[in-house]
């Protein structure tokens, strides 16, 4: 059974836990003389209290309180391993409580592949500090100096005489440390603490670095664990929010009589926010289909024709430009160039298209609000709901329960605020879930973009000037979390003005070109508010699109210089860890160097291989794609991928391997299939037929993963880096197979056939 579900406290317990009602239930914790002075129950949930991070239960089991969450990529077990090592307990004795605002500090939720990179840091420190205090306490109890004690399996004993011992359970089980730690005053990903204890050195790890099986698997496979979609409360109403299929509409009128045949269903409305609620979910669904609404079109043709989206981007005014990397004299280099290579790459809007539409349950009461959410950032749901309802955040508890996947700011964030608003308006607990079109047409989108590469080569083919500029919609047209209702559909529907942020990114690499410019330009959104094409974070925000361009462009330079793509990269990448992943991927894949594409033209099946490499916040990754191109059908099959991955210290190799596999195949899906379709007035991708994703027919036959472990280097992220190299690896393999470049994603059969016909 999942500890998380056990901890769904009753309302009264919640108020206690959140500090609204302090009761002194537990006796004083006897843990050293100083600690014994402090009586009382669990101290308030603040990062400065050790008890906010770790607890020892009466039976000696350990609970780690983690302010991020595991979306299925092995974070739960990885955190347990880290805490187990610091505390010297068995891994299976550590439970990890995740993403509940009443029980965990705001570590930023799932965000930017930082679960281990930054999320594990305070947990490691807290566990080390807890061990220090427990050893100190045992030292008092046993009358032996701490240096003469050892810990094994949660039992502190004399090194010389194991019969002299005290277990963690005896020392503190069920009571609290009441011990202060130093907090860095940061909220979110950067939250960290400083403690007196020194965490162990990697050479002392016993379980970190080994593979342990995830604990969420049986609950998922036998379906004994609850998803957010399964949360049910007494007197709960089911709701469906009605979104106009057309963008840029306000509500002119609602014909409530149109649903009178559905007994018990009714309309709930605040300004342009319209929903139907009913006791039975099917009645809510039926009513949502029957309800007649007349809409006002506030803007004619809000979108450009889809076929012209990249021209729109090229011509659009630049809201902001940032020259992120500027080295040497780029203009000068181009003036002396023997040869200039230029290319542009295009990437479409893409949808989160989560496996199920966003869902949330909210219970808004006078004495407090509870929201069950699948959002990957429940602490920000807490803030957003509090602001939306005008109540203090401490009156809101957001509880993360696993949802239908989450790879960024998807529709789960909107569902949470929808549910809260509906519960407020109806005075009842409300469960809301979208229909399929809400999850594809109305989720925040990964931004469309155009990427321009330009390079100056001297007579020998050496790159003497390099420029790569991305231009597109902001990666944060709405913010990456829902802490501000202005970033939610509910908020925009009730008239809150949006608060767009302007941001994009540049390639992350270590190419040592002497004169180099990496820049981005962001253009205005197509619509100011409530846009189905509003952009936000989608797994590895702007990583796949930028690297789709930049790593193809590097390949184009290799071809221009008449060099093998691997050798060309290694010529310019001197950073040892970067070079190592490129070499490792090539070697494992059995890379056959050639200075020009294979470009076989006979037979229906053409095969090719391509490489791409990138960095991401400290992680290095390279992938070799081996593909087959069916000339007649235009189908590309990503047959085999070889990924070399270096994220510093590896916590759980198997978990890491599976996470990389998911990245590869999701990346392949986005490379070959995914493109949000739209016409002048609406998004026309509304289901899996109009927004196809990869199916098993197109899954690779093999994925080889080379894990490069650096125990001496602090762990960096793994949730996203490997997705960003897949699009270019596939496109480069296509070039190798055919001698033809595909510079517009996705690489659909139609585009393949057209490109081959032109060649």
């Amino acid at each position: 059974m999942n500890a998380r579900i056990d901890l769904l406290l009753s309302r009264r317990e919640f108020l206690k836990a959140s500090g609204a009602l302090i009761v002194s239930a537990a006796g004083p914790a006897f843990i050293g003389e100083a600690l014994a002075q402090t009586a009382g129950g669990k101290p308030p949930l603040v990062p400065t209290e050790l008890d906010s991070w770790v607890a020892i239960l009466p039976d000696g089991r350990v609970t780690a309180f983690f302010g991020k969450m595991d979306m299925g990529q092995s974070l739960d077990i990885a955190i347990a391993q880290i805490v187990a090592d610091e505390l010297d307990v068995d891994v299976d004795k550590v439970d990890v409580v995740m993403g509940d605002t009443a029980l965990t500090c705001n570590q930023g939720g799932a965000s930017g592949s930082t679960g281990i990179q930054s999320g594990a840091r305070p947990l490691r420190s807290a566990a080390a500090e807890a061990r220090r205090l427990l050893v100190q306490s045992a030292s008092h109890k046993l009358g032996l100096p701490a240096e003469q004690l050892r810990v094994d399996g949660g039992v502190v004993s004399a090194a010389s005489d194991p019969s002299k011992k005290a277990s963690y359970a005896e020392l503190i089980g069920g009571r609290h440390f009441h011990h202060q730690v130093e907090w860095n005053k940061q909220i979110g990903n950067a939250m960290d603490i400083k403690v007196q204890a020194s965490p162990k050195s990697p050479s002392e790890y016993r379980v970190v670095g080994k593979s342990f099986t995830r604990r969420d698997l049986p609950g998922k496979v036998y379906r004994t664990d609850k998803y957010v979609t399964d949360i049910s409360l007494p007197k709960m109403l089911h709701a469906r929010v009605i979104r106009c299929s057309r963008a840029a509409c306000t509500v002119a009128g609602v014909d409530e009589s149109s649903i009178k045949k559905v007994k018990g269903a009714r309309v709930v409305r605040e300004r342009d926010f319209v929903a139907v609620v009913a006791d039975h979910e099917w009645d809510a669904v039926r009513a949502s289909r029957m309800l007649k609404i007349s809409w006002n079109e506030i803007k004619k043709d809000p979108f450009p024709p889809m076929a012209e989206i990249y021209d729109h981007i090229r011509k659009a005014p630049v809201l902001k430009r940032e020259d992120s990397v500027k080295k040497g004299d780029v203009d000068g280099a181009f003036k002396t160039a023997a040869r200039i290579v230029e290319a542009e790459y295009e990437w479409p809007f893409q949808s989160h298209a989560s496996m199920g539409p966003g869902c949330s349950v909210a219970d808004v009461r006078a004495d407090g609000v509870t929201v069950w959410t699948g959002s990957q950032k429940p602490h920000f749901v807490q803030t957003g709901v509090a602001r939306l309802l005008g109540v203090p955040p401490e009156k809101v508890r957001a509880i993360w329960v696993a949802g239908p996947g989450s790879y960024g700011r998807n529709d789960a964030g909107d569902a949470a605020l929808d549910a809260a608003l509906l519960s407020k308006l109806t005075g009842r607990p409300v469960r809301v879930q979208g229909m399929r079109s809400d999850g594809i047409a109305w989720d925040p989108k990964g931004p469309a973009s155009v990427h321009r590469g330009r390079a100056a080569l001297d007579a020998s083919g050496k790159v003497i000037g390099y420029e790569f500029i991305s231009k597109g919609f902001s990666r944060r047209n709405i913010d990456t979390n829902e802490s501000d209702p202005r970033d939610s559909l509910a908020g925009m529907s009730i008239g809150l003005a949006p608060k767009p942020s302007i941001d994009f990114g540049v390639p992350a690499e270590a190419y040592g070109f002497d004169n180099k410019l990496l820049a981005w330009e962001v253009i205005p959104p197509l619509l100011d508010a409530s846009s189905p094409l509003r952009s936000s974070h989608l797994r590895d925000p702007v990583g796949p699109q930028i690297q789709f361009g930049s790593e193809q462009f590097i390949d184009e330079l290799a071809a221009a210089a008449g060099e093998d793509p691997v050798a060309f990269r290694l010529k310019y990448v001197s950073a040892p860890r970067d070079a190592a992943v490129i070499k490792a991927a090539a070697e494992k894949a059995g890379w056959q160097p050639r200075p020009a594409p294979r470009a076989a033209r006979s037979g229906d099946i053409l095969s090719g291989r391509g490489i791409a490499y990138a960095q991401r916040n400290g992680t290095l990754v390279a992938a070799v794609a081996e593909i087959e191109v069916e000339r007649k059908s235009g189908r590309i099959w990503g047959k085999k991928f070889t990924v070399a991955h270096d994220c510093g210290l590896i916590i759980n190799p198997e978990g890491l391997r599976y996470t990389i596999e998911g990245n590869v195949v999701q990346g392949l899906s986005r490379t070959l299939f995914e493109e949000v379709r739209f016409d002048r007035e609406k998004v026309t991708s509304i289901d899996w037929l109009s927004y196809p994703i990869l199916e098993i027919r197109d899954a690779p036959e093999a994925i080889e993963v080379v894990l490069i472990n650096h125990p001496e280097i602090a762990p960096s992220g793994a949730g996203e880096p490997s997705i960003r190299v897949i699009p270019a690896a596939v496109a480069n393999a296509f070039f190798d197979a055919t001698g033809v470049r595909l510079r517009r994603a996705p690489l659909t059969p139609e585009r393949v056939k057209a490109a081959l016909a032109r060649a």
Binding site: Y222, R223, W282, D687, W688
Partner: protein, 154 residues
């Protein structure tokens, strides 16, 4: 409204509801069996898959009236931790699911397929699993698990 009697996971149940209501809502709301998921409501993803008389069907589009007097099996009825179906055991051993929301479709479809064709080739397995979605993109692990289960079932 109609009173419709059928069997779910070996138990006889009666649901009073709109006969046009999809089976999924009867399972989730009336019978409080939350294991089949709503994914699309359009029979395009598989998250709602159950067996009807041993055949995989999409419960999100199957009218309740069509199951009257018939036997429905859900993923929970396929196996339990104590007595797992080989595919469930393989799913745990191969650590297949990430979010896990899609697995009813994969396991229920593969279970019915392998029963009919235990020695299916890789290509036949892929063909049999066409149409199912997995957004976490665990397809490589799915193939490993199905093949592992195959060795148990053969």
């Amino acid at each position: 409204m109609a009173s419709i009697k059928f069997a779910v996971d070996g138990k006889t149940v009666t649901v009073n509801a709109d006969p046009n209501m999809p089976l999924l809502y009867a399972l989730r709301n009336d019978l409080k069996m939350s294991n089949p998921h709503f994914g699309c409501g359009l029979a395009q993803c598989g998250a709602c898959t159950v067996h009807l008389e041993g055949e995989p069907i999409r419960s999100c589009v199957m009218p309740l009236s069509a199951v009257a007097g018939k036997k429905v099996t859900t993923l929970q009825g396929l196996g339990t931790p104590e007595k797992p179906h080989p595919l469930q055991a393989a799913y745990v051993e191969e650590q297949v699911p990430q979010c896990g929301y899609c697995i009813n479709g994969w396991i229920m479809t593969a279970a019915a397929f392998l029963k009919k064709k235990p020695k299916a080739s890789d290509a036949e397995i892929r063909e049999a699993l066409a149409g199912l979605k997995c957004r976490c993109a665990t397809h490589a692990a799915i193939m490993r698990a199905v093949k592992r289960a195959q060795t148990q079932m053969a």
